[in-house]
Amino acid sequence: MSTFLEPADPAPTAAERLHIAGLHSPSDAVLSVRDLNVSFNSENGAVHAVRGVNFDLMPGKTLGIVGESGSGKSVTSLAIMGLLPATAEISGSVRLKGKELLGLSDKAMCAYRGNDIAMVFQDPLSSLTPVYTVGTQITEALTIHNPGMSKAAKETRAVELLAMVGIPSPRNRLRAFPHEFSGGMRQRVMIAIAIANNPRVLIADEPTTALDVTIQAQVLEVLHTAQEETGAAVVMITHDLGVVAGIADDIMVMYAGKPVETGSVDDIYYDPRMPYTMGLLGAVPRVDVAEKSSLVPIDGIPPNLLHTPTGCSFAPRCPLVTDACLDGEPALSPVPGTGYHQAACIKSGSLGGDVDVHEIFSAPPVPVSRFDLIPRGDRSTVLELKDVRKHFPLTKGALLKRRIGTVKAVDGLSFDIREGECFSIVGESGSGKTTTLLEIMEFHKDQDGEVIIGGISNKQAADAKTKSAMRREMQMVFQDPTGALDPRFTVYEVLAEPLQNAGLSKRAIKKRIMELMNLVGLQPDHVNRFPNQFSGGQRQRVGIARALAVNPKLVVLDEPVSALDVSVQAGVINLLDKLRAELGLSYLMVAHDLSVVRHISNRVAVMYLGKIVEIGEVDRVFDNPRHPYTRALLSAIPVPDPQFERTRERIILQGDLPSPLDAPKGCNFATRCPVFAALPAAKQEHCLTLEPPLEAVQPSAAVEILEAGPAPTPDQRFACFFPDGELDEHMLVVHETAEPHAP
């Protein structure tokens, strides 16, 4: 049997060919990928998901891979790890320290996985086994690759690892189960497991996408430490250009399964040469910029990878497309006049840093609402909350339930929304944002507190008629556009449902639906399609159209763009902006992305543990945050500007939201507060015993002099006793000191 020669495997030969062709990896690269191709079968035929990825990863360096969903980022990483299903066809070469990994059996790959090359996955909640303790799972990783290691040594190492990723009292926490950890802690444990055997390469696939901003900052910090400790090279896969700006050395932008631009992080951010990269950068709202300009939407959707593109794969969406672009797919070639910055665009030479991306992509002008000119006080109130509370009892015991405490999900919330304005609520998960929305949407007369919608209070909402009148005033757009549309309804049926309910005639319904389709920028003949035939952005547009169907005054937006890609997100944000201006809508938005909030809202409220800690006009709050929590939140937002990212001072909050049971009697935030930690004991006592009230910011003396007289109180209120206190320096992190010539 075995005397027959094995049929030559195509992978090594392809690699050999490349080596001969001079494309072989430099000897010092830990991981070098050459001509990686992956295809899958689908109902429509073979999909070529990754088409010729090449890169070299030097030890201790970080490569960021960015791109929209479906651009082949994750498939690339899974192919490197050998984790793709057997039905996928992979070719090319992946060499780890010179050894070929492609074509190895699953068993042979196990020797490398978790040892030389490790991975951190996106969802920390499902990547740990719930039935084993955290310690068992860390030691498992050690046992597999170090069979000779003694039990005591393994335990010591596990404690060391947990301490390294910043888990307090690691020795005790070894015996804890994953459900006893929060999401951020679990991601730290995942990182600890990944670096357990000092891997040479660490692949992080969207490691912080599922986490809150403050936790994201913590986890990125941990990744940074882990990299420094182990000297591993990191492949960071993300769609968030802000996240990689601070930590990556090199960036690879992927589009349609192909790298379209590679270079150092400064090259990509300050001198992008490929229109796609430019569009991506222009599509991201900035949290640090007050000036209002429309975002850059990249029209269209990525190409279908069923067919090999005949021209540039980005051509159908590119505003600069010419006939030459359609003639053959441009290869990645060096940008003239630079070192190793490469772009796959025939115009890369002429697209310098001075090109205005808003002009190229013809971003729409900033829409102006007719309400913008009327002072806020003169506009009528659309929604008002007065001291709304929602407390859940916390009980213990199976048979006889004892009340052991109260979760104050929403604790005395009051705010109002005027006509034509966008009001946003921000905060970490668990701060009560969603409960607030539910309290408003599911109003009833026995609520604790008053919800006034369009002038009608919930206390009057006894009969169905009043209720439906209130319902018509406000509609909701959901976070997940896929889940919010019944998969078995056509778009027509989806949009007809609220109209039928409002009692419109068939003719009127049809007319209104056509109007709505136009309004949200969808083709009228798309009404017969099912939601699964649309892209995510289009689905969200359908969701918006449904919300607008009955002409509400207020639209409640629950994280309306967090499930969308950046380029698509820009289009939806622009649409929301435009609808607000043209239809005079008011928005109540809940979002965790502060950049989006800054871009779209007029006023903002920061919530922490069910209470508003700071509220006011968005530019005032973001430019001049008074509450330490707001400051921490803002400093945690990554900004797509590498220079700024490297030199900015960050407040890394310690730990997670406290459990409602241990919430302090005084200020809720005291347990994590950077100001509190640096206060003298006497003042700390003050914070712990008294609850700070929400007070208006007093105009500073300088302003009063400037205004010659008492200035009007600015629209900003906050709840903190010592807003000007020193920050605890343990919670401040700066990676590099500012260079004198830095912008």
Binding site: S42, A46, E89, F478, P487, R488, P498, G521, Q533, E582
Partner: protein
């Protein structure tokens, strides 16, 4: 609505993309393809259809029927006269098998379909009303689950149900009894599925629009548990056939002169040594019947389950072929 059409280039581009005929595939096509991709399931379907056809037209190929006694061929092995031999009473086994297969399939299909229908109505109602109604209905359901089905079948078909037996053929009686005891599991499953569907965003959206709950159940819930129902029908059919065989085997199901596969198998067990064909033929048919359904089930799951990973293998060189 002045510059509202400005966004349209995006939609136009997307439209052009979707217009490519091979992007949009009708759901039925996908389901059919996925089912056809599972060769075992296709074989199962073929066998099942073949058996059904056989049970209806099989009788025309033989001059004998299930009641005529052939006094010259008593307890004879298969021969030219009698394809499958005769019983010790001299009745043609082929004719009896055709008849038995038909009864078994009929029992299976009726019980499978009706019990799932009952379960869907009962389960959705429970989930829709919730609260007290849910509690009471759940209690009834639990009580039925705890009832010893075997005893009830024995009583109904032999001693206790004399009045019923006079008016109804024994197979119909068995169908009724089987129906009473077969829908509870599915009903409970459907209840929990509709309860989780009630939490989905599109149901919430409908609630926030003020759509009355009854409409929500009818328009959003029932269609969305459809694929589960299809699977449960085939499982119910298999279960009913097996139950019939088992009950008839121990002598409390179908009674002679009605014939089913279970009756044939049960009657022949004592004579496996002397008349082996009497035992093995109906057993094989029964196995083909339930086996084919079991084979189909896996394929149906592949076809209807939206999270199914059935997409087939990426063929070598298929990408190159396309580019040429």
């Amino acid at each position: 609505m002045t510059n509202l059409n400005a966004v349209d280039p995006a939609a136009v581009a997307q439209d052009a993309h979707l217009e490519n005929a091979d992007v949009v595939i009708a759901k039925s096509t996908i389901i059919f393809r996925r089912f056809m991709r599972n060769k075992t399931a296709v074989a199962g379907l073929a066998v099942f259809l073949g058996l059904t056809l056989f049970s209806f037209v099989g009788g025309f190929f033989t001059p004998w029927d299930k009641e005529t006694i052939d006094p010259f061929n008593i307890g004879m092995p298969p021969s030219g006269d009698h394809f499958l031999g005769t019983s010790q009473a001299g009745i043609d086994l082929y004719a009896m098998t055709v008849e038995g297969t038909r009864i078994s399939i009929m029992i299976g299909l009726i019980v499978g379909l009706v019990s799932v229908l009952v379960a869907a109505v009962y389960g959705c109602t429970m989930a829709y009303f919730g609260g007290k109604v849910d509690k009471v209905m759940l209690f009834v359901l639990e009580a039925l689950i705890m009832m010893p089905a075997l005893l009830v079948v024995a009583v109904a078909t032999s001693g206790g149900g004399d009045g019923l037996k006079k008016n109804l053929p024994s197979w119909l009686l068995l169908i009724i009894v089987l129906l009473v005891f077969s829908w509870m599991g599915t009903a409970r499953l459907i209840r929990s599925m509709s309860m989780s569907l009630m939490q989905r965003d599109f149901v919430k959206a409908a609630q926030y629009m003020g759509v009355p709950p009854r409409r929500i159940v009818w328009r959003h819930l029932v269609p969305n548990i459809g694929s589960l129902l299809v699977l449960d029908i085939t499982r119910g059919v298999t279960g009913a056939i097996l139950a019939e065989v088992a009950f008839s085997f121990i002598g409390i199901g179908i009674k002679v002169p009605d014939i089913s596969l279970g009756v044939l198998i049960g009657g022949a067990t004592s004579q496996v040594q002397t008349f082996p064909w009497m035992f093995w033929v109906p057993l094989t048919v029964m196995f083909l019947l339930t086996g084919s359904l079991a084979m189909m089930n896996d394929g149906l799951r592949d076809a209807f389950d939206p999270s199914s990973s059935s997409v087939g293998r990426a063929k070598k060189n298929s990408a190159e072929k396309k580019s040429k």
